[in-house]
């Protein structure tokens, strides 16, 4: 029995190699790219991939990602991320042309975003043929990985195989990823800075998915190489364009204590994320105390807090009913806010708008 299983695995390796031979390995140089060759498929698909530059640049947060052109007039699909949290989002096309992009909208569940640039007759992927592919499909992943390509330098092309089609169970930092539908798991290292938003194409160059954000498996903690299937992209894109998804980012889950006060901090993305206030829930104790979005919390009571975690610990340490005094920096000045007594744990929480 053991011998039989070994010989099976050898056969399957051989089969994979043969498929390679047929589809991708043309003999000798094929300069200019023969039709159907990997070279030509990559060249055609890469023209539809854009490099996106926005906010970031601090440790652990890159300021660049990838996107794909989905209409000749300049509609670009990419992943929703902090890179887009910028007044000036720049998109650099394969030919090196640089456009300022407008954020059309986002799909918080699929973590997709649609951008728009003022273009005409741009090379674009066709979103209408949205069929699924199965495990074993050979793919090319084309992206702005590590930001190595700039200007008119072509996006990076990697080769691989769809290893499985499975529901996504993943997390970013402590937070679970909001999308839990099916994804393509890839036998191709695509989980790299800059790759999210890149194109996943089949051996004929047809778009089959988009490289997802950097996530780890909830179960094992390993970084996942995955892509969102095309049909999900189409639904997300349609909803964004039709305006049927929430226009604002849904408040990320915040620990109970802070949510009870009406404070939403920025997502926990870094080792020591500074305790910036992302939003203040309307009609909450924090709102009444005058706390505002973009305030940087520096102290809770007499305890200085340098990180999001430290702030949570400080608030958690206050006995319910005791007053909460929060010091923040706003426009360069220290402002003190008396948030009032800490509510008990079981008081009804306000939901995010």
């Amino acid at each position: 029995m053991i011998r039989r299983s070994v010989s099976m695995s050898v056969t399957s390796v051989a089969a994979t190699v043969i498929v390679w031979g047929v589809c991708g390995w043309s003999a000798g140089p094929c300069h200019g790219g023969e039709p159907g060759s990997t070279q030509q498929t990559a060249a055609v698909a890469a023209r539809r991939v854009v490099k996106i530059y926005g906010a970031g640049g601090v440790r652990g947060l890159e300021s660049y990602q990838s996107g794909i052109l989905v209409s000749p007039a300049g509609r670009i699909l990419t992943v929703m991320s902090t890179v887009l949290d910028s007044d000036g989002i720049d998109c650099v096309l394969d030919d090196g042309r640089r456009f300022e992009a407008r954020l059309v909208g986002i799909d918080p569940r699929r973590e997709l975003a649609v951008l728009s640039i003022e273009g005409a007759d741009l090379p674009a992927f066709d979103l209408t043929e949205a069929s699924r592919v199965s495990a074993g499909t050979r793919i090319l992943a084309i992206s702005n990985l590590f930001g190595v390509a700039v200007g008119d330098e072509r996006a990076s092309v990697q080769r691989g195989v769809v290893a499985a089609v499975v529901p996504l169970e993943a997390r970013r930092g402590a937070a679970e990823a909001p999308y839990t539908g099916e994804v393509y798991l890839l036998d191709c290292t695509t989980n790299n800075p800059g790759s999210p938003g890149g194109a996943l194409v089949d051996s004929r160059g047809r778009l089959i998915g988009m490289l997802g954000k950097e996530l780890r498996s909830s179960a094992s903690g390993i970084w996942l190489n995955y892509a969102l299937p095309l049909d999900e992209l189409v639904r997300g894109c349609d909803a964004i364009v039709a305006g049927t998804t929430p226009a604002a980012v849904a408040a990320p889950p915040s620990p109970a204590d802070l949510r009870l006060l009406g404070i939403v901090l920025v997502p926990d993305l870094l080792d020591r994320t500074p305790p910036f206030v992302e939003a203040v829930l309307p009609d909450s104790p924090a709102a009444r105390a005058g706390l505002r979005a973009d305030d940087l919390v520096i102290a809770v009571g007499t305890r200085s807090v340098a990180s999001r975690d430290a702030m949570q610990r400080a608030v958690g340490g206050i006995v319910p009913g005791d007053p909460v005094r929060i010091s923040v920096i706003r426009a360069g000045a220290v402002v003190e806010c008396e948030v009032g007594p800490r509510p008990p744990e079981n008081s009804p929480a306000r939901s995010a708008p």
């Binding site: 050898v10 390796v13 051989a14 190699v17 043969i18 031979g21 047929v22 991708g24 390995w25 043309s26 003999a27 000798g28 140089p29 094929c30 300069h31 790219g33 060759s37 990997t38 070279q39 030509q40 498929t41 990559a42 060249a43 890469a46 090196g96 090319l140 990985l145 590590f146 190595v148 390509a149 700039v150 200007g151 008119d152 330098e153 072509r154 996006a155 990076s156 092309v157 990697q158 080769r159 191709c188 290292t189 695509t190 989980n191 790299n192 800075p193 970084w223």
Partner: protein
């Protein structure tokens, strides 16, 4: 337990490919079988030229054989801690002593020589400018130093990007114009070959983007292009500590996307040739420049000292100039970096897959015989080897030359007559503007005659002395390396047309002699003073077929980018030159 999983996997793949061919050959499309056969053959070729380098107890990396007599390329950062001696394994299962030959610390290249055979298998160097994104590729090497059985690991992938620029990450190692691949490049792969689908060498692997997973492949490895290796190979064979080039100017990208000169040193050759602020760079060394990265890419592939064409656009006009590239580092600074006073560090992010530094062992006898330490050289022994080779080529040509004084007569482009006489003790040149003379004891630097030439007569005297008496007769002479035969034609002719260059210092001047494969001097550059423009003489020889003529047919003399004169030499000189008669 010895870990040799990777080569085992590679071998299993080959074995099963072969088996499939045998067992299922009848039912499989011939196209598939052909592709498979080609791949098996390519992998066999990659493996046969792959070198597993072991340095001391803990260190090592990979290399790739370039010549039958055992010259192999690797990374500078692989040999940096090795000293002159290392042990190399080949797929034939044997260990060879190897000696360091030359290093290029900025480009992260090194040349070593395996000893003991003159029939090593060697890689065919391909034209890496023809590599395209999507091309299949193989990396062969010694990842994680797994090749304890001397069998290299082969990883397959595709070319992910070409002409990539990777800025120095905390080191001086700059990867310019490199090839990006998704074939696995891991620590230990450094210095190994990157091959195309036919097993031809397209690059030398050396760098990878690492991120959050530690120092393992994440799908982005980088190889120094084969064309860059080819450009530096002559300088490396010279046993030198090679430097990269600077134009003496920095460029930046203008608002309209043009690449313009943003700063320039007035002491640079580029400045003297007329390059100015805000000039738009159109091309360098025959390659178009559309981005700052493209400029850095071209420059990074060129050794310091080469003369290359530069095309700029200024106020709507194209200007072409030949520019000499200066060294990126002061020689002492480069030597200090090599000595490890600054240089590689263990920074995160993009970095070199290098191993721990081992203690330096005593030199084996075989190494001692081909190693000589000298300032400015990685191994001066090989400079003598190459100098002697060029001297032998010059000597072979010598027999066809007249023994006594050389007399060259003919007409200038202006149709005026000229006469040049060169002898052991004196030299004279008669021009319409007057007669100039030099005695061999003269300090050529103090009397660069004829006036305006920058030292043409001195250059010709040294040429005759080099040809008749050999390199030792023209002062302190080293083998410099190789340079393009015709710099002006770079990018339009075969870029691989590189010829030998000797460099000498004597009689108060410095001179460079470019010698072709037939042993003929085709260019002489003479600096009467190091900071001034040299006298440049280009010698045109008759086509070899049918006609035996020992003297050039034409001398083009230039200085500072301006022609001094074009000398058409009479063919009747061959009859008279030997006797020194006045024609």
């Amino acid at each position: 337990m010895r870990s040799n999983a990777a080569p085992a996997v590679a071998m299993t793949m080959i074995a099963c490919l072969v088996r499939v061919a045998d067992v299922h050959g009848a039912g499989v499309d011939p196209v598939v079988l052909d592709a498979q056969k080609q791949r098996v053959e390519a992998v066999r070729r990659c493996a046969s030229v792959a070198v597993s380098i072991f340095v001391g107890e803990a260190g090592g990396g990979s290399g790739v054989l370039l010549t039958r007599d055992g010259y192999a390329a690797t990374n500078f950062h692989v040999v940096q801690s090795a000293g002159p001696a290392m042990t190399c394994g080949l797929a034939d299962g044997r260990l060879y002593d190897a000696v360091l030959v030359g290093i290029d610390p900025t480009g992260d290249l090194a040349l070593v020589k395996l000893l003991g055979r003159d029939d090593f298998p060697c890689a065919e160097l391909a034209d890496s400018d023809l590599v395209e994104v999507g091309d299949p590729c193989f990396a062969a090497g010694n990842p994680f130093l797994l090749a304890t059985d001397l069998q290299p690991s082969i990883s397959a992938g595709i070319v992910s990007g070409v002409h990539r620029y990777q800025f120095p990450a905390g080191t001086i190692l700059e990867y310019t114009d490199c090839i990006q691949v998704d074939a696995a490049i891991n620590p230990g792969n450094s210095g190994g070959g990157l091959f195309d689908a036919r097993g031809r060498l397209i690059g030398v692997n050396g760098r990878a983007s690492f991120e959050k997973r530690g120092r393992v492949n994440v799908g982005a490895g980088y190889a120094i292009s084969a064309n860059q290796v080819r450009n530096f190979l002559g300088c490396l064979r010279a046993g030198r500590l090679c430097d990269h080039a600077t134009l003496g100017a920095t460029v930046s990208s203008g608002a309209d996307g043009r690449v313009v000169v943003s700063d320039i040193l007035e002491s640079s050759d580029a400045w003297r040739r007329g390059l100015r602020y805000d000039d738009e760079i159109v091309s360098l060394a025959g390659r178009p420049v559309r981005t700052v990265n493209a400029f850095k890419n071209v420059l990074g592939t060129l050794p310091a000292g080469w003369q290359v064409p530069l095309v700029v656009r200024r106020e709507g006009r194209r200007e072409e100039m030949l520019v000499r590239l200066a060294g990126l580092h002061a020689p002492a600074a480069l030597a200090a970096i090599v000595a490890g006073q600054s240089g590689s560090d263990g920074k995160e992010g993009d970095s070199q897959p290098r191993a721990a530094e081992p203690p330096r062992p005593d030199l084996p006898v075989a190494i001692r015989e081909c190693y000589e330490s000298r300032a400015g050289f990685a191994n001066h022994h090989f400079n003598i080897v190459e100098r002697d080779r060029v001297a032998a080529a010059l000597a072979a040509f010598r027999d066809t030359l007249p023994a006594g004084p050389w007399v060259l007569t003919g007409r200038l482009a202006t149709d005026d007559e000229f006469r040049i006489e060169l002898s052991d003790t004196s030299a004279t040149i008669d021009l319409p503007t007057g007669t100039s003379a030099l005695a061999s004891a003269d300090d050529f630097g103090r009397s660069p005659v004829p006036p305006g030439s920058g030292g043409m007569l001195g250059a010709l005297v040294l040429w005759r002395r080099l040809v008749i008496e050999g390199p030792a007769a023209v002062g302190r002479t080293i083998y410099w390396g190789t340079a393009p035969r015709q710099p002006a034609a770079m990018g339009t002719v075969d870029a691989a047309d590189l010829v030998d260059v000797l460099e000498s210092a004597a009689s108060g001047v410095e001179a460079r002699f470019t010698v072709d494969e037939a042993g003929r001097v085709v260019a002489i550059d003479l600096w009467a003073s190091p900071d001034d423009d040299p006298c440049e003489i280009r010698l045109t020889w008759p086509a070899a077929a049918g006609q035996v003529r020992p003297m050039p047919v034409r001398l083009d003399v230039r200085r500072g980018g301006e022609p001094f004169g074009v000398f058409h030499v009479d063919s009747r000189n061959e009859a008279t030159a030997g006797r020194g008669d006045v024609p």
